[in-house]
Amino acid sequence: MDLWINAMQGAVNQGILWSIMALGVYITFRLLDIADLTVDGSFATGGAVCAVILVNGGDPIVAILVSTLAGCLAGWVTGFLLTKCHIPAILAGILSQIGLYSINLRIMGKSNIPLLSTKSLYDWGYSAGLKTTQASMIVGLLITVMIIAILYWFFGTELGSAIRATGNNEQMVRAVGVNTNFTKLVGTTLSNGLIALSGALITQQQGFADVKMGIGAIVIGLASIVIGEVVFGNHGNFLVRLIAIVTGSIIYRLIIALVLQAGLSTDDLKLLTAIVVGVALTIPHILSNRKQVALYKKLTKEVDENA
């Protein structure tokens, strides 16, 4: 039983820390309506920068801030390729992602950096008598709440509204005098900053950075978003949507933990993730289709009976 509780606690913890990455993906995928594949690279960049700073005796908070800035830079490059070079979004993201693989190796100097006796954000937990999982869960939750508050504020501002509108109707946004190249650039920069922040938090929690740690991150981000949408419904105000993503991220991790406990091999995880995303994207369509057919049958029956 203890094993189960531990596994579930670990899953919730992972879900919270990874949810910041999912919030970043949400900015490009849903708000800007761009499929930005930089994610897999910028997530590892966050981890790489954080690990290098920590092994050189740096402060964990500084490490997180610098990692976030590095992610912003990566996102800016993607935005630059997208807006100034007019490279299609998917290709611009892939170019950044591939380029970042080499850059991440350069940053780390090797493909894996273990963090053995370095400081971490979660150290205070020991003195407070908490387990690492619990300490990182509390820290992760605090940071996530802070990020949600910042995003809620930012996307309510003049600039934030213009970014949301850009993904909705670009022509209208230009007609009201907003430079859509700029809004896209801000969006990709902000998005990848959050993704790298999440990578840095994960690195401190798992105690190592790996150049391959970002592989599949985009799909995990999408999984969190669509699971959140299935659970909360695709409506509600902006704040509810952000909370739905965090919930989606936690549910995703719980599903993974359950199937691993049930004996699935970790090698099959990526396939499982792909299936989860596919199913979550399909469910809303099937449900609305069924609802429509049921309504048709009911109303038609009424009409026929009255005739």
């Binding site: 930012f154 309510g156 501002t157 003049e158 600039l159 934030g160 509204s161 213009a162 949301r164 509108a165 909705n168 109707n169 022509q171 209208m172 946004v173 230009r174 007609a175 009201v176 005098g177 907003v178 430079n179 859509t180």
Partner: protein
């Protein structure tokens, strides 16, 4: 207010699809002029509007708004001086955002977007007052998503958005063409009201010749990338649809006006 000097535009230069869309256009609009533009498909009406708005660059010539050269300015920069309503009701508004958010964005046309809150309490009140005269009940649906509105409602809203911050030039590109006759008449009436009240310099493309005669103080007919007829004031008021058809025959040299001109 608006001056167009020797403006030409050719699409697909050097290919088999080469199309001279505008041929040396010269046009000057005075402050408060309300010009209606008619002409068959491919005459260059929409191209002219798009050139003024900066959607595509012009090949040569000058476009001046309020004596300021804008020929090389990008679309979003010119937008600080230009209000636009498009033919497609879907194009002028952001469907996933609320009525008040759309109006708030439009009322900041030409201003840089800061980190101030996107909509203020004072604006909410102003928007309510602004929407009331439409008689569409939108003043009670400020937080409704624009995607829930009908085409006519969206077009009326777009018109308000284009004029909520007074533009130096208002461009209406067949903005009533996609609406049913009753809604179309309503939007046209609203257009007339706003333009007159704010004394706006306006260009309106239409396919309805009677409408082109009834509205505005000046009428332009385009054919094959050129302005072939330009009439204003009393002379315009005396015009009839048969007059226009005759003018078209004379200027274009066609034996009889073709059905494209009539039907749009």
């Amino acid at each position: 207010m608006l001056k167009i000097k020797n403006v030409s535009k050719t699409f697909n230069i050097g290919t088999i699809n080469e199309k001279k869309a505008l041929k040396n256009i010269n046009l000057e609009l005075n402050d408060g002029d309300f010009v209606t533009i008619i002409g068959g498909n491919g005459a260059g009406k929409s191209t002219l509007m798009n050139m003024i708005a900066g959607v595509y660059p012009i090949d040569c010539g000058h476009i001046l708004i309020d004596s300021k050269e804008v020929s090389l300015d990008s679309e979003y920069k010119r937008a600080s001086m230009i209000g636009r309503v498009f033919q497609d009701p879907m194009l002028g508004t952001a469907s996933a955002m609320s009525i008040q958010e759309n109006l708030a964005m439009a009322s900041r046309r030409g201003k840089s977007r800061t980190l101030r809150w996107g909509i203020t309490k004072k604006e909410r009140k102003e928007f309510k007052e602004l929407l009331k005269p439409l008689g569409l009940g939108l003043e009670n649906r400020l937080t409704s998503k624009v995607g829930l509105l009908s085409g006519g409602q969206r077009q009326a809203l777009t018109l308000l958005m284009a004029t909520v911050k007074k533009p130096k030039v208002l461009l209406l590109d067949e903005h009533t063409a996609a609406l049913d006759p009753a809604t179309s008449a309503k939007v046209l009436m609203l257009t007339n009201e706003i333009v007159t009240k704010q004394h706006l310099t306006t260009m309106m493309v239409t396919h309805d010749m009677q409408e082109a005669i009834d509205v505005g103080n000046r009428l332009i007919m385009m054919y094959d990338g050129q302005i072939i007829y330009d009439v204003r004031g009393e002379e315009k008021k005396q015009l009839t649809v048969p007059d226009l058809l005759k003018k078209f025959e004379e200027a274009s040299g066609s034996e009889f006006v073709n059905d494209r001109m009539l039907l749009g």
